[in-house]
Symmetry: C2
Subunit: 197 residues, 2 copies
């Protein structure tokens, strides 16, 4: 079985650790994101190892309590305004630090892709895009228009990520929920790709 | 006829000046916004004179050319990034300076309400809210759900402005157009009022 040199643990040990952090259905989702992230990396000539590991770990902090996120924000001197946001934002924007603390992961490209996987960013790397899109289209997803997202991801990461961002904003507006400003930055940068033929 | 002391001109002279700046249908819209802004000011205990004048002038710069907006941005040392936005944003965010230059208007409350009338702001005054809402519900407006907006404005400026902001964002997303970040700030501050019963 695979050994993760930078984590100083085998794949088996890592999977046991992840399963201690999240419920079974989320663990299955993380495995599915790992798989499709690897496929996207192959399709778009990115580092398959990085894409798979970022995909596998992306929701590692999804079930932390708000108090745990507050502790991370304080220990790492992050912007206090993060405390006014919920788990949906914090598990990426703050959660990547839990992965760093718990697993000793120091690969900045992977940590950044995990940090950005829910909100995106105005200037995303190919790895950022892969994790952001993989989270949306993994085989277990079955929301309306997921097939449209998969079709777009077959040809363009930019189109697929613009689609995810647009649909996320529509969903939040329909629920009258706040939208994280970085999500709008992602939308404003990438929406033009959806207008192209 | 009314005389505007701070503009050093009569209402008649002001209306002639406005008509030299905008086409006839826009002039009618500005008169209609003046009227409903005055009514809202009466309903919500704001300064009726300020509300009417801001309403009358709000689209004064709507038909300026992009070069004219660039000139205003340069002369007044505004943020260069404004130049990447279109007329829809610029006629408020920059256009209020044209009113100041042309008409000598120095009333900061009125100028601010005009500046904010398209995007809103995270912390709006009652006058800001009145002009923002009046522009949306004046009697000539007949888009879907304008009656819903009018009903909300009968009871709450906060609900009505949240509704306008939400619908504006939905409209821009449907057209795959960028959204000005200040519009999102308005949404994030005021959307909670639409969730209240």
């Amino acid at each position: 079985m695979e050994y993760y040199k930078e984590l100083k643990m085998s794949r088996e040990e890592l999977l046991v650790k992840i399963q201690s952090m999240v419920k079974a259905s989320r663990f299955q989702h993380m495995l599915a994101v790992e798989k499709v992230a690897g496929e996207l990396a192959e399709r778009f000539s990115a580092d398959i190892y990085q894409a798979r590991l970022a995909g596998l770990l992306h929701d590692y902090a999804k079930e932390l309590s708000f108090m745990e996120f507050e502790g991370l924000i304080d220990r790492h001197h992050l912007d206090e305004s993060l405390k006014s946001w919920g788990n949906e934002i914090l598990h990426g924007k703050v959660g990547y630090l839990k992965i760093q603390e718990d697993l000793g992961l120091e690969n900045q490209e992977i940590l950044q892709a995990i940090e950005r996987h829910t909100t995106g960013h105005a200037e995303m790397t190919v790895l950022d895009k892969i994790v952001y899109v993989a989270d949306y289209i993994e085989k277990g997803r079955n929301f309306p228009q997921v097939d449209k997202a998969r079709e777009l991801a077959a040809v363009s990461l930019d189109k697929a990520l613009a689609f995810k961002t647009m649909r996320t904003m529509e969903y939040l507006i329909a629920k009258k929920e706040p939208i994280y400003p970085q999500t709008l930055e992602t939308y404003n940068t990438y929406i033009k790709f959806l207008k192209e033929k």
